[in-house]
């Protein structure tokens, strides 16, 4: 059995999760990575994606995050999400809404830099939609 560490998932509105976990998979800006206990200190920004939390009790929970960042220490991991929902409670309409907002952003973008950023975000959102919604 893997060693447990403290994991906190915080959204601006409230503290969503605070418990001992064995491993957490987070969607870093440069790809998904797994955090175990005694991880080297890392600070990473997140892309929209699914985090998978394996609790010390052995259950697996999945949450959907839309951007944010994660602060990893050897004995703790804090994820500050811009907004987060449990995958079970997710509302397909909400994602549709976010995607259409992102599309507008792409159209409104004034320069290439912001357009490519907006397009990347849109791309990540559609991938996320494909990943969590059963086709």
């Amino acid at each position: 059995m893997a060693e447990a560490f403290k994991f906190e998932l915080v959204s601006p509105e409230r503290l969503m999760v605070s418990e001992d976990v064995e491993e957490v998979v987070v969607p870093g800006q440069e790809g998904y990575f797994t955090v175990l206990a005694k991880h080297a200190p890392v600070m990473a920004t997140l892309q929209p994606g699914v985090i998978e939390v394996k609790t010390a009790a052995g259950q697996t929970e999945r949450y959907c995050v839309f951007g944010g960042f994660v602060d990893i220490m050897p004995e703790a991991c804090t994820l500050l999400a811009e907004s987060a929902v449990n995958v079970n409670d997710i509302d397909p309409a909400d994602i549709e809404q976010r995607i259409s907002n992102a599309r507008e952003d792409v159209e409104d973008a004034k320069d290439d830099d912001s357009r490519s950023k907006a397009m990347m975000y849109l791309d990540q959102l559609t991938t996320l939609q494909g990943a969590i919604l059963p086709a």
Partner: protein
Amino acid sequence: MPSLKDLRSRISSVKSTQKITQAMQMVAAAKLRRAQEAAEAARPYSQRMGAVLANIAQTLGDADDAPKLMVGTGASDTHLLVVCTAERGLCGGFNSSIARLARDHARKLLGQGKTVKIITVGKKGYDILRRDLGSHIIDRVDLRDVKRLGFSDADAIGKQVIDLFEKGEFDVCTLFYSEFKSVISQLPTAQQLIPASADGDSDAETGGDAAYEYEPDAAAILSDLIPRNISVQVFRALLENSASEQGARMSAMDNATRNAGEMIDKLTLDYNRQRQAQITKELIEIISGAEAL
């Protein structure tokens, strides 16, 4: 001397006022609990954010390429004041004390020959400031339809502020709101948003001195974090404000209820005294009438 009938209707009208103020007090108490919970629930996020920011800022040091949002434009000619107030009145001096703080600040800046721009959040602040600073108000945000304050509301305001900053519309941004100390004490506060002031929450816990690895890299994270931090600060201010508003309303309505009670007591006393006087007068009339026979 008011007649008995006048007194009766006075008493009944004060009684119904008392009922209203009492109901408002109870509503405010219930809302206060919710607002307080929301403010407390949001605290971990802004604390962690402050800690992380302080950490990165420390790592980066005083690099020349530090984001403008953090170090400012170097000038301080144009000031943007974001004034957060309530949507409703009847909450004691809550709105006027925030507005007064903002107005004094604006006057001071104008006296120094600086340009002042104002964004008001909430209807009451706009109503108060419109009178003598109307020409400086560049925008107003209405939260009237917002049932439950969400991060997205604050985020919209934060984005607007950043937008204006990037267009070079102002150099310094100050946020005005009321800090929630306790139910009976709310403190109007001015907080500098841009450039980020060094103090604030950062001294809470700086996450130790661990050598972090950054992904993608520290500068990129910082440029991502700072705009978000502004939204978080606005969000925190709005939550503090809504808790303060309910607290202020609760004590104002408590006072009003008590005053109405005192007034009713006094009026009832007058009423009874007059009623007795009238009975005595009638008795004297009857007796002296009987004696005359």
